[in-house]
């Protein structure tokens, strides 16, 4: 599970810089995740300075 809270997010790009799998992108619509690349490791969740991302490990991955 990956949840991005658009109201909390400051569009700083930090999560993108730490994602080991290059799964995130900052577009006009905000943070977009590539589900195929994401391994729900949670690094972006821990990193986000304002707590705008919540990740839970997917069981099937």
């Amino acid at each position: 599970m990956f949840k991005w809270n658009k109201n909390k997010c400051l569009r700083c790009g930090g999560c993108i810089s730490v994602c080991p799998n290059d799964a995130l992108e900052l577009t006009e619509h905000g943070i977009v995740r590539d589900e195929k690349k994401c391994i729900t490791c949670g690094i972006c969740d821990l990193f986000c300075p304002v707590g705008a991302i919540k990740v839970k490990k997917d069981r099937d991955k």
Binding site: R11, C12, S17, L26, P49, V50
Partner: protein
């Protein structure tokens, strides 16, 4: 066909563009934001020496406050004062400063375009040979002899171009900052830094004054902390008499590289400048200077490559060599210092605050006299390993 296309109009991109345009090349500088410089992701501090070394003479509206020194607070509350000398540092208005840098590039002849998102590179026989993007929602493609990625920490372009720049997330700090007004600043000519694992795990809090009652109040902490940086910052503000009545004008956030410098920042027809290559001082997170200096080095190497009509990785490799010679090796030393600092307990901090002078601290942050620090660490048995790493 451009000689050089640069992605990202931060200090790194604008400096590269300016230096290349000055030499007469056809340069395009593309920025995804609709306004260059805003929103800022920065505490806005830079020393006068750095500004001079870059040969800059910024207009008055780029400078909010002149700085004489710093006060560094240990967890015990004890402050070590640093005297930098009168007016030897600036707190900038980055919005103005970044825009001015881009203006300067344009005045020298660069084509600058905001609200232009670069999402891919063009390739010819496998080599990078331009960009694809969207400018004010119109798709476009443009070719260039050389492409420079100056697209900041969220750099996509390097990865798309084929350089794996992913670094250990532990080398990236999580930062957030309030620009506050209506606060009391004891001495607006000093920056204030607060250390302690309880208030800022593996990092510090800062107050960078922008006037008598305005300041950037921010924090940078280790990137894998289960409590978000903003919660630590809020607590700091609430617990500080001088700050708690203040208003918040801006909320800024960002990632701050604190190491993980790249050995290889080039490909055929391609190189990286600034935060995108983690070129930041790992002890205080300053990157305004580093990005522009790297831009200047890049411009010199690109100039030589274009003159020789050889823009291969082999030729551009001189950028890797030159950057490491001028900056990398000394930043690497400072990275060691950061490794020590991040392993200190609050007690260790208090011990050092009793032993060290402001002068010592200035030396350390420049990567000098680390032996003095090592000697002090050697006196505390549990720090011997850290001390050895410094020697």
């Amino acid at each position: 066909m451009r000689d050089v296309i640069i992605v990202g109009a931060g200090p790194g991109g604008s400096a590269t563009a300016k230096h290349l345009s000055e030499k007469g090349y056809s340069v395009a500088l593309y920025e995804k934001r609709q306004e260059i410089g805003a929103p800022k992701r920065c505490g806005e501090g830079i020393s006068l020496g750095r500004v001079e070394r870059l040969g800059l003479n910024p207009p008055k509206n780029c400078i909010r406050q002149k700085i004489d020194g710093a006060k560094i607070y240990a967890p015990s509350g004890k402050a070590v004062e640093i005297d930098y000398g009168k007016d030897s540092g600036y707190i900038l208005e980055r919005k103005m400063f970044d825009k001015w840098l881009a203006e300067e590039a344009a005045r020298k002849g660069a084509f600058v375009q905001a609200k232009t998102y670069i999402n891919d590179v063009v390739r010819e026989r496998g080599r990078v040979s331009g960009v694809k993007g969207e400018s004010c929602s119109e798709k476009f493609e443009e070719k260039s002899k050389i492409l420079v990625a100056a697209d900041g920490v969220e750099s996509k372009i390097s990865r798309v171009a084929g350089l794996n720049t992913t670094c250990n997330p532990l080398f990236i700090d999580s930062g957030v900052q309030f620009e506050m007004v209506g606060i009391e600043i004891e001495d607006p000519k000093k920056i204030h830094l607060y250390f302690g694992n309880k208030i800022a795990p593996r990092g510090y809090l800062w107050i960078f004054p922008k006037g008598k009652d305005v300041a950037n109040v921010g924090i940078g902490i280790i990137g894998n902390c289960s409590i978000p940086a903003i919660d630590y910052l809020k607590k700091f503000v609430e617990n500080k008499e001088e700050l708690k009545k203040g208003s918040i004008l801006e909320v800024n956030a960002g990632s701050i590289p604190v190491g993980g410098f790249l050995k290889k920042m080039t490909l055929d027809n391609f190189l990286i400048v600034g935060d995108a290559a983690y070129q930041v001082n790992p002890i205080h997170g300053g990157g305004i200077y580093e990005a522009q200096l790297a831009g200047r080095i890049a411009a010199e190497i690109i100039d030589e490559a274009l003159q020789k009509k050889n823009t291969s990785d082999n030729q551009l490799n001189k950028y890797n060599i030159e950057w490491w010679k001028q900056r990398g090796n000394s930043l690497r030393k400072i990275e060691k210092l950061r490794e020590v600092v991040e392993n200190l307990s609050d007690e260790d901090f208090n011990y050092l605050a009793d032993k060290l002078t402001g002068e010592d601290l200035v030396n350390f942050t420049r990567g000098n006299s680390l032996v003095t620090l090592a000697k002090l660490l050697l006196k505390r048995p549990h720090l011997i390993k850290l001390a050895k790493a410094l020697l």
